[in-house]
């Protein structure tokens, strides 16, 4: 299914990724709190 673009007012695309150092992080687990996502460019 094609996902809607990530634009203001639309549902945020889900994220389910491993954490550096261990464990996983899922956006859906944080429903009920505001969330800020910071997408890095390269880390050097």
């Amino acid at each position: 299914m094609k996902q809607q673009p990530a634009e203001v007012g639309r549902p945020a695309p889900d994220i389910d990724l491993p954490r550096a150092g261990g464990g996983r992080w899922r956006l859906a687990d944080h429903r009920g709190r505001p969330v800020m996502l910071v997408f890095h460019r390269h880390l050097a």
Binding site: R10, M36, R41, L43
Partner: protein, 138 residues
């Protein structure tokens, strides 16, 4: 911009904060060791989230153009950062998103150049809005 320098202000909003990188786990873990990043750092090596959120690849001019050199120098000296060869794609740009309590996007900032980020004030204001939007009619 060093968001962690404003940690108490961000945490006062009650927000969950996470960063994403497309680099290998060993570089992500080293980043955590070398910086004071206090929140989760997620590893997205296939860049699925980068694509889902519409983050862009910058042009050579957008990433390396001389108009950016003063900003790069300021960043290097302000952080006393180690300068080393990048491990990965230097053209992939980042961004910032704020999501409300119901899972809707309230701020979408896709960087147009490496130094293009929203200010701390803009982010804090969006987080305040995000915390309120789930509690009333919208």
């Amino acid at each position: 911009m060093q968001l962690q320098e404003h940690r108490s202000e961000f945490e006062a909003t009650g927000a969950e904060i996470a960063a994403l990188t497309f680099e290998a786990p060993r570089f992500a873990e080293r980043y955590l060791e070398e910086t004071a990043w206090p929140w989760p750092l997620l590893v997205d090596q296939d860049r699925r989230a980068y694509r889902d959120y519409g983050l862009i690849q910058g042009s050579r001019w957008a990433v390396l153009g001389p108009h950016l050199w003063p900003g790069y120098l300021k960043l290097i000296f302000s952080r006393a950062a180690k300068v080393e060869k990048p491990h990965d794609d230097i053209y992939q740009l980042g961004g910032n998103f704020v999501i409300d309590t119901e899972g809707r996007i309230v701020l979408a900032h896709r960087s147009r150049s490496p130094l293009d980020r929203p200010s701390v004030d803009v982010l804090l204001e969006a987080l305040e809005q995000a915390g309120e939007s789930g509690t009333g009619e919208k």
